[in-house]
Symmetry: C2
Subunit: 192 residues, 2 copies
């Protein structure tokens, strides 16, 4: 039996995107965003939402660019910090003892401690209410070499991706392997 | 050291959203979508992307409504099937032995086997390339009562959410608890 929880932003799992930007003074910044996801295959696009009061909001519009940086579970404390403090007050990257490098394709910082970085050019944005959705075209994805398996495919165990559960407001890791996509579903018997 | 993988839709984790719609003939349908995510807190909004050739694409526009249905790992085979077969050819819900009920707030079917269902009214859509992004305003969230803990908060272990890893094209469950959000990050020492 189901029970109504009302109108809420609840869906599982949510990602932990660290959105990288340079502000007007050229200082790099990272913000933890759980409101985001991939939204197109070709051109590859990813969306992330931010409140207009956020330092990152101004940073994205300043250079019409951002990066999405993904951290493994070992960096959960820093990931959470990036969602609590503001880059308006201090350099959060320095506070975490983290390091950034310049983007190759866009003017946005890449977090060296991330297992994966997406360089995004702002494609469009939509005001939705408390949040503005920014859609970025992914111009390049960079991954730590050691996170690839022998076939050159991202290895879940090596990346150890961090994820977020809204409602419970908790971070988790990725767990048990359940099955291959576009494969296990073929066992469903279709009646003719 | 990082290596470029080129411009690809790669970010972890991706959700497994089953998008529920009624088609023009009134037949209910579900489609597996990994390109999606929460995109606004107030009003609560969720986005999901679909290719224009999809039966679901027409279904969303027909009634300007859809549901997001979340399945636990035990339903992974059915979840995958919903991404392989087309509702244009047959009733996928019947093929899975699943059941739907009518939405309470919008004209979209709710999957009874889902641990959680979001009822969404189409707010806007954007053509991005291969995919069209549909932004829905969440009018109600319903959850299986047994998936709530004593405090009325969604319990990760009881829901056992299914998630998708692009690139590897594999399904996984949620794993180890890592920490409380808006909490563990306060231990980062800020230099004054």
């Amino acid at each position: 039996m189901k029970k109504s929880l009302g109108a809420k932003p609840l869906a599982f799992p949510a990602p932990v995107y660290l959105v990288g930007t340079y502000d007007a003074q050229g200082q790099p910044n990272m913000m933890n965003a759980a409101w985001g996801g991939i939204c197109c295959s070709e051109p590859p696009c990813v969306m992330v939402s931010a409140q207009h009061t956020r330092h990152t909001y101004a940073g994205i519009l300043e250079h019409r660019a951002f990066s999405i940086n993904l951290l493994g579970c070992e960096h959960a404390v820093a990931a959470d910090y990036y969602g609590i403090a503001s880059g308006r007050d201090l350099n959060k990257i320095e506070a975490c003892g983290h390091h950034v490098s310049k983007g190759e394709f866009v003017h946005a910082p890449s977090l060296e401690e991330a297992y994966m970085v997406q360089e995004c050019r702002l494609k469009t944005s939509i005001e939705l209410g408390t949040h503005t959705m920014f859609v970025g075209e992914v111009l390049d994805v960079k991954i730590e070499v050691e996170c690839l398996n022998k076939k050159g495919i991202p290895d879940v165990k090596k990346m150890d991706p961090l994820l977020f559960m809204p409602g419970a407001r908790e971070y988790y890791g990725v767990g048990k392997f359940v099955g291959k996509a576009f494969a296990i579903g073929t066992s469903v018997k279709e009646k003719k």
